[in-house]
C-alpha cells in the first residue's frame, strides 16, 4: 500500500503481558483502507491477542500507542472500536441459531420504532442487501430462514453480513474457515473478496496457509509475540510464502503456521 493513504489503524510499541509471559512484544503495524492482511502464526503466537487489542476487548500494556485515522485514542474500548467502524467476526460466530438470519444480523442493534417493536420489513430488506453485497448466492434461504438451516459457510456469511452493517471499515475475521468443508471455505473466501471490492479492510486470521495466501494483499507473520514478517504479496508465490512460514517454524517449535 502506498503511504499517501492514511492508515485506519496504527499500532506503535504495543506489548501485552500476562504475568511474566509476553503475549505480544513491541508490535508496530499499520492497517490501510481496502487492504486484506493475512495474520498468520502458530498457536500462541499472539494473533488473537493482537486482534483483541485492535477491537478494544483487551487493553495493551502501558506505553502502547493506538492511532485511528492519525489520531491517538485513549481508553480504547470495544464500544469505541465499533463506533469507529471496526468489527470482529468471532471464531464461534456468535449466532443465535434458532432465530432468523435478519434477527441475527441486527441482534443488539435492532431497527425499532419508538416502542421497541422491530421494523421487520426494513430489517429484511437491509439484510437482503447486505447478503447480496457479500455475494450470498443461495437461492434456497431468505433473510427469514432460521440460521440452523444453513451450512457452516453460509453461517459465516451471516456473521460477515452483520459485521459490515452500519458502515464498518475494518473487519477482523478470526479463523473464519476453521472446521469447514472445502466448498464452504471457498464460499467464505469469496465473501472476503467481496468485502474488499466493497472497499472494506480485512484482517484475516487463518491456520490454513493456502487460504491465508490466496486472500491476502499483505502478510503479517507472528512468532511468539513478535512480528517476524510484514510484506506485501507483490510477486511472492505460494511456495515462497510457505517456505517463509516453515523457516520461522523450524527456528521455533517445529510446527507449520
Amino acid at each position: 500500500m502506498t503511504s499517501e493513504v492514511a492508515p485506519i489503524v496504527q499500532l506503535q510499541n504495543v506489548s501485552k503481558s500476562f504475568g511474566r509471559v509476553f503475549a505480544l512484544e513491541d508490535i508496530n503495524l499499520d492497517f490501510y483502507p481496502g487492504e486484506i492482511v493475512s495474520l498468520v502464526g502458530d498457536n500462541g503466537a499472539g494473533k488473537t491477542t493482537l486482534t483483541k487489542i485492535i477491537s478494544g476487548t483487551e487493553s495493551p500494556d502501558p506505553g502502547a500507542k493506538i492511532m485511528i485515522d492519525n489520531n491517538i485514542v485513549k481508553n480504547w474500548t470495544a464500544a469505541k472500536a465499533r463506533s469507529r467502524g471496526i468489527e470482529t467476526v468471532h471464531q464461534n460466530r456468535a449466532l443465535s441459531e434458532s432465530q432468523t438470519i435478519y434477527d441475527n444480523v441486527f441482534l443488539g442493534r435492532e431497527l425499532t420504532n419508538s416502542l421497541g417493536f422491530i421494523k421487520r420489513k426494513e430489517e429484511v430488506a437491509e439484510t437482503e442487501k447486505l447478503m447480496r453485497k457479500i455475494g450470498y448466492t443461495s437461492k434456497v434461504w431468505t433473510p427469514n430462514s432460521t440460521v440452523n438451516k444453513l451450512s457452516g459457510g453460509e453461517r459465516q456469511g451471516v456473521a460477515i453480513s452483520r459485521a459490515i452493517l452500519f458502515q464498518s471499515r475494518l473487519v477482523i475475521l478470526d479463523e473464519p474457515t476453521t472446521a469447514m468443508a472445502l466448498s464452504e471455505a471457498a464460499e467464505v473466501m469469496a465473501f472476503i473478496q467481496n468485502l474488499k471490492a466493497d472497499g472494506k479492510s480485512v484482517i484475516f486470521i487463518s491456520h490454513n496457509p493456502w487460504d491465508a495466501f490466496s486472500a491476502a494483499d499483505r502478510f503479517v507473520i507472528l512468532d511468539r509475540g513478535k512480528v517476524v514478517c510484514d510484506e506485501p504479496k507483490g510477486d511472492m508465490t505460494v511456495q515462497d510464502f510457505i517456505a517463509r512460514l516453515h523457516g520461522f517454524a523450524k527456528e521455533g517449535r517445529g510446527s507449520v503456521a
Binding site: A79, H90, N92, R93, A94, L95, S96, E97, S98, Q99, D103, N104, L107, G108, R109, E110, T112, L115, G116, F117, I118, R120, T146, R162
Partner: protein
Amino acid sequence: MGSPRKAGVQLRKNLSLINSVPEKLRPLFGAGIFFFLMMVAFIIASPRVFLHLGIYSAIFLSLPLFTIVGLSLVFITAAGEIDLSFPSTISLTGLAFAWTLEQTHRNFFISAVSAIIVGALCGALNGFLVTRLGLSSLITTLGMNFALIGLTQILNNGAVRTFLELNDTAVRSIFVGAVGPIPAQMFWSSGLAIILGVIFHRHKFGLHTRVAGDNPEAGRAMGVNIEMTKTLCFILIGVCSAFTAIIGVLLNSTYFSTMGDGYLLPTLAAVFVGGTPVSGGKGTIGGLVIGAATVVFIQTGVVAAGLDGYWTSFGFGLVIVFSLLGHRRFSGRLTR
C-alpha cells in the same frame, strides 16, 4: 376397490398439507390439531355435555387464570430457564391484594398495585438469585415455591378473607362479570395474550428473550444484556401471577392461602402441550393459549363426561406424552 385408494390419496394430500405449513407455525398447528382431536373425542364420548353451551361457560371461568400465568411461563422457558415458584407467588400476591383491600376500605386500585409490586419483587428476587448468583433456576424457584408459600401461611395465619360486599361493584363486573355467556376475564386474558404475543414475536425484548435461551454468548457478544432480560422474564411471571391472584380473589370474593395450589403442573403442561420446547430459544404464545385450553378442557371435561375425577391425572399424562409425540412429528427436534 376405488374408494379406499381414493381415501389413501386424500390422506397423503392431507399429510403434505402439514408439510406445507410454514415451519414457524408448526408448533401452533400441532397444538391446534391435538386440541381438535381431543374435542372430537369428548363430543363422541359425551355429546350431551359437550354440545351444550353450559360446559363452555364453566371452562371459560377458569381458563383465563391458567392462560395469564402460562403466557409469562412461555417467556421464561424460551429464555432457557424455568420458574416453579409461581403457584406460591399467586398465593402471596393474593394475600397482598386481600390484605390491602381490608386496610384501605376496599380500594381496588391500591390493592391491585400492591399485589403487582409484591409479584414483581418476587420475580426480581428469583432473577437476582439466578442471573447474579448463578444458581440453577429449577432448584432456586423450587426452593422459592416452598419459602413463599410458607411465608404466606405465616402472614395469613389460617384466615379466610371474604369480600362479599364486592359482589355488586363495578370493579368486579369489569374484571369477572359476564358478557352474555362469556366471563369478562376471558377478554382480559385474550387481550393480554395478544399484547404478550406481539411482544414475544415482534418486540426486541422477545428476541432477546429467545436469544438468552438459545445462545446467551451470542447475545452478549452483540451487546444484549442477557441477565437483565432473564430478570425481566422472572418479573413478568410475578406480575402475571398477581393478575391471576387478583382475578381469582374477585371471582370467588374470597381469599384463602391455598389458592395457588393446583396451578403448577397444569400450567407447565399448557406451555409444553402448546409447543414451546423445554430446551429454550423458541416459544409460541398462540400455542400456549391452545395448550391452556387443552389442559382446562381435560380438567373440566373428564368430570363432565361422567368419569371419576381420578381420570383427570390419567388424561393429563396421556395428553402430555401424545402431544409431545405430535410436536416431534411436526417440528422435528423441537421438543427435545
